[in-house]
């Protein structure tokens, strides 16, 4: 049985269709569900093995990216989400989905006193940008990145700079392998770990430690700013007319990994 994928849609979500398509190509069975249905019946999530929060501008990114939907999850869906995680299921947040995961506390736990562990803030450039980036996998923690050393994917965001509460928190996440995906110089070799800050625009938003994607302590909840669903076809690659890229896009592996996780 292919795993069932819940594509969570809210006002302003706009990458839901191509993300569902990527899961379908990878062998998943997707269903797009409006957040209002989940708020009415949080147990709806029980029927699925994978929860995906796709990109977009949930509630317009008004106030801050992902904040409003993140708060709705905190206030109304926390129990359902905790039991989803506890059941060994997978959660993926892409771009706005990553922002929502971070702001909902689903990805990194809050500290009762100091509050959230991290956030995603405005790009150092101060503007929304669509550009392609080189990404290297920095740890084997994330289920989604199994067997992925490097990917070439587009980013398209304004608020993607990952900022931890303090240096100690960031260091602990790093040590725990949770800063799983990093921006790398465009000519970096696969798997090479850039410890120094990668300069703009290879690091498109100025994230410290070049953080592009973060997973939780189990590796089963993962959020990333780049868009893997925008690189599943040969002709997605910006230089496919130059013969670059493979027969399928780099991003497909991430969806295949999540589907394969339930195949055994």
């Amino acid at each position: 049985m292919p795993p069932r994928v819940l594509i969570l849609r809210a006002p302003g979500t706009n990458c839901d269709q191509e993300t569902a398509y990527a899961f379908e190509v990878a062998g998943g069975r997707t269903q797009s569900v409006h957040v209002n249905r989940l708020l009415e019946n949080p147990r709806l999530a029980d029927e699925f093995q994978i929860l995906c929060l796709p990109g977009g501008f949930s509630y317009g990114d008004d106030i801050a990216a992902g904040r409003i939907l993140g708060n709705q999850i905190r206030h109304h869906l926390a129990d359902a989400m905790q039991s989803f995680k506890a059941a060994g299921k997978l959660i993926l947040g892409i771009c706005n989905g990553f922002q929502i995961l971070i702001k909902s506390g689903l990805l990194l736990e809050d500290d009762p006193v100091s509050g959230p562990a991290a956030t995603l803030v405005w790009n150092a450039s101060g503007k929304f940008e669509d550009r392609w980036v080189r990404l290297n996998t920095a740890s084997s923690k994330s289920v989604f990145l199994a067997g992925v050393e490097t990917m070439y994917l587009p980013v398209a965001h304004a608020e993607g700079k990952f900022v931890a509460r303090d240096e100690a928190t960031l260091a602990a996440l790093d040590t725990g392998g949770q800063l799983a995906l990093r921006y790398a110089p465009l000519d970096a070799s696969p798997g090479a770990r850039a410890d120094a800050d990668v300069p703009y625009p290879a690091n498109p938003n100025g994230s410290p430690r070049n953080v592009a994607g973060v997973c939780d302590a189990t590796g089963r909840v993962f959020g990333l700013m780049p868009h893997p669903e925008r690189h599943i076809d040969r002709t997605h690659h910006p230089r496919w007319t130059r013969g670059e890229g493979g027969d399928v896009g780099d991003g497909l592996k991430l969806f295949q990994n999540s589907v394969a996780y339930f195949a055994t």
């Binding site: 956030t119 929304f128 925008r230």
Partner: protein, 970 residues
Amino acid sequence: MLWEVDIYAAEGQADLAAGRIRGDAADLGLAANLAVRAASGFLVEGPLDETAARMIADELLADRVVERAVVAPVGDERLTMPPGGEKRLVHVLMKPGVMDPVAQSALGAIADFGLRPDAVRTLRKYWLGELPDDKLKLLCQKVLANDAIEQVIVGPLRLERLEFGSPYKFALVTTPIRDLDDDGLMRLSREGQLYLKITEMRTIAAHFRELSREPTDVELETIAQTWSEHCSHKTLAGRIAYRDERGERRFDNMLKETIFAATQEIRRRLGDDDWCVSVFKDNAGVVRFDEQHNIAFKVETHNHPSAIEPYGGANTGIGGVIRDTLGTGMGAKPICNTDVFCFAPPDTPADAIPPGTLHPRRVVKGVVAGVRDYGNRMGIPTVNGAIYFDPRYVGNPLVYCGNVGLIPRDKSFKKTIPGDLIVALGGRTGRDGIHGATFSSAELTSESETVSGGAVQIGNAITEKMVLDVLLAARDRELFTAVTDCGAGGFSSAVGEMGAEIGAEVWLDRVPLKYDGLSYTEMWISEAQERMVLSVSEDTWPQLEALCASEGVEATILGRFVPTGRLVLKYGEHQVADLSMEFLHDGRPPTVRDAVYTPPPVVPLNVVPRADYTDALVKILSSLNVASKEWVIRQYDHEVQGGSVVKPLVGVVNDGPSDAAVLRPALSSRRGVVVSCGMNPRYGEFDTYHMAASAIDEAVRNCVAVGADPSRIAILDNFCWGDCDRSETLGSLVRAAIACQDIALAFGTPFISGKDSLNNEFSYLDDRGAKQTIAIPPSLLISAMGQVDDVGRCVTMDLKRPGSVLYQIGETRDELGGSHFALVEGLSGGQVPTVDAEKARATFAALYEAIHAGLVLACHDLSEGGLAAAVAEMAFAGGIGVHVNLDNVPRVANVDAVAALLFSESNSRFVVEVASDNAARFEAALAGNPLARIGETTSEQRLTVAASGKNAIKSELPHLKEAWQQPLRW
């Protein structure tokens, strides 16, 4: 209780807004290194105690990791303590009634905490260093706020409450018209902002004399809106007597007899192979795409609002054209946006800007941000565009917004059924945009901002996205019978059009309002954004209502389409309008105009020959029209929806200028849509016929350059012109329309939709009190939508590898008139580029076959800057060197001047890179067309162009690329 929450960057975090303001203040010469601290703020009104207010601040409004919040009741001194000892405090608030999407969302999000505030407003707060009053005032005007939509409060905020609006007390207003003389009629037209002509006012007066009564205010408004230039295109669809050097031509309906006639003839010739589906009829033109789908395309302009409030104008411009495709047939799914802008040069000195205008730099930034924020939020990739700079756009910038939609073939038509309910979907109605339709028929003046401020709006993209989601779901479930968008003219236009053949009764007291106090007339003509009108049968209404409720979209029954042939408006018990649909739609007296065109004599353009033209090439690459637009393009999401194939930026480091964009709208299919454009306002000074012909050629060849099938390209026209009451101005437009007819027919390329915007002029009083008027140059945008059956066959313009053969396809003529060479060299005169349509058509067809057969590595069209600029762009985009020999360039007889061979902008030409192995096959494919090997690609990072054995151009690629990228790298 009225709480204020001010949010500052926390210690050690960047204050990005402050940095921008400091930079702008320095640019304007107001202060060298101004101390700035910026905060975003929220005003929250309602029964909240301090604990609740603090909780909202910490958990919703501020990000505790990187921000700190100051929370206090308005007026409290905690809010007026400068964070760093700054001297001046400025608050900027939206004017009451202006759309404030963040405040709306915050209100909803606070409800998630179980709290129920009454109202929320946002504000911006700036702490500034020492600054004298006059400079502070300038900073507020030029940087901090736009007083078309915002108010500035210097010093502490004193505010008691947020709510505004007061209950409306009904009073029927009638406007005496029957006894007015011509002066009185024109005064009424002007002061009532009807902007109708005297013949039209006389017709209205006569109509009501016949009815033996005076019109109500809303009846007059409805007529003015329906008869407005914006809604009826009365000038171009009117009677025109046109004269030029070839004689006289009389039109009963100019557009119908030129552009539309060409399309009809093309369709007739195609017979059973006709692939046009719905042209010049619906909100967008529709053509066949594949077995399941058609595609729709529409381009609109939003010029006057963008002049006054660039962000909001562009924002609602893109929002409006998206609703056009969404309101086509039974609703098309928007799949990409295009945007073309015309601005004054951004380096125009501040003191050269006429009174009442915004500095072009500010207009550029505002317009780009407006398109970015709306398009990105809608999740529609913005894939194609262009920007043209000319000083004459200073008071009247042009903002063209386009949208392509994908629609199932069986959903491409609609039909309102008598008895259907009139249902409004989406945003609520406020005073926004009152008189937008009639305002766009007026000339802009330095007073426009005060007179017409109500016509300027901000959009709320998420409301429109929610409407899009439910509308397409409702379409697939067949829950309505017809749909149209609420654009200019609001409900008046939408209901008037849908019910034109039937009749309608509207119950205005049911209109959902943003705030109290709107009169019945304001409700009827408001152009509030993000609204659609549907006709819905009684049977399906409950399902539609439930669907909308399930996604939080407001749907309201406003009336019924009744088979009376009349438009009846009611407010409660009161009837406020009763007009015959016939008078409304067919009663307007025909507009009769004289149009005259005298082509200026061709005067020679004198180029002093010289040995080296490298400098001219560098100047062309650095000219604003040619220079890289990467700063703009990267701010648009051009890949959302996952179908991107050829991006706007291509090449070895993804930064070369693509000729056209290609995308796959259906992800499981290999079939692609190609989008491109053509425009050259500089040619209009020579001959608008050739300008229009060149624009069509450019749009089509851009499409062909990436691999589109030239027999499946559809085009759109958008005329932006000056005041067409002047017969010379109208003459230059008619001449362009005749060219559109001729070239479309010769190419077999149908126009499927179009739009015009006349009166693009700006008037002001100069220092001596004399009226000065700046008219824009004739500005015809041609947008092209092509198709490819397999996107894997597409090519891009970047050179691919050393050792390939370079060809020029098409003949070079001595056509430097209006060229960019003439621009950067300060030369005048010359022959403007013309189009040899028969040759062009054959070339396009042969090139398509060669690309389709896989014989082409790279292809780029020749446009601004001619051969030299095209080859330079191909080289630095690909990071591949080039050597060209001009001696071989295909040309008409007697063209041997090096400058012409390098920089002439003759149409229908391409440079193509072909692998040497394929050269023979490629030459065979192009047999019979003007073609010659002009050079080869090399492994050096250098461009050389030789003429008669000597280098006329020699430059390193990084130098050329920097010249091209530097000017607009903001």
